[in-house]
Symmetry: C2
Subunit: 140 residues, 2 copies
């Protein structure tokens, strides 16, 4: 596959593929020694698709690079990989908790909506500032 095919199959522009190469997010295949174009494996398409999906979930390219470096293969130190995976898992779990708070706040807002007058219910801000709401008097 040439770079144009990779770009088309993964839904990005050629320039974006090259950009990811410069950033070492995908490997650049060697140039054929007697002229011609670089040949890309199918794997590159999968990596780029992963990158784009992960970006939509809010990961930066640096974070994605870290995620992509977590592979159990014969060449990697198992304990090291596992520790780094655990760190990433903790981060992601925290993110999911935060997202769920916003999700809950939106659900509350939607259900509160049709039956109210002037109550000023449920600014989204409460979704995240959740602690500190009951400083004294009522316990959680």
């Amino acid at each position: 596959m040439t770079i144009g095919k990779v770009a088309k199959k993964s839904g990005v522009g050629v320039e974006t593929v090259r950009f990811y190469e410069r950033k070492d997010l995908v490997a650049q295949p060697p140039k054929p020694p007697f002229g011609g174009f670089r040949i890309y494996p199918e794997e590159t398409v999968e990596r780029i698709r992963f990158i784009r999906q992960a970006q939509k979930l809010g990961f930066s390219l640096l974070e994605i690079k870290e995620l992509l470096s977590l592979r159990l293969d014969p060449a990697s130190n198992c304990a090291d990989i596992r520790d780094r995976a655990q760190v990433k898992l903790n981060e992601i779990t925290r993110k999911i908790v935060g997202m769920k708070r916003i999700q809950t706040a939106l659900e509350k807002l939607i259900t509160a909506c049709p039956g109210q007058g002037a109550i000023q219910v449920c600014s989204i801000i409460d979704a995240i500032e959740a602690p500190e709401k009951t400083k004294e008097g009522e316990k959680s």
Copy 2:
């Protein structure tokens, strides 16, 4: 409160507060008519804290602005707010699903780790590329 206090309480720099003002993410209080510094309400601190938390969850400032505009108060059209909240809710629910896929992939990688030889189990990529794995036959 002057801007420096706001910055300190919300954990950002003064320049960042001004930046958010320029972007209309927080309101800029009026300048006292006969000289002096602007006075900020506590609410500004809460908004900035929300902004920073939401950013950590992967929302852009534009998305955060949209979230912050979803408030049930007497001045807003209830049906409009509800519809926009529903759109945001769908987006966030989809994000949570995607994050959970990565979470599961990391968990699998971590548990697979201690007892393997050369299996090349569980690249994170599988977390997202889940569909499309078996289109025809078993040759891959």
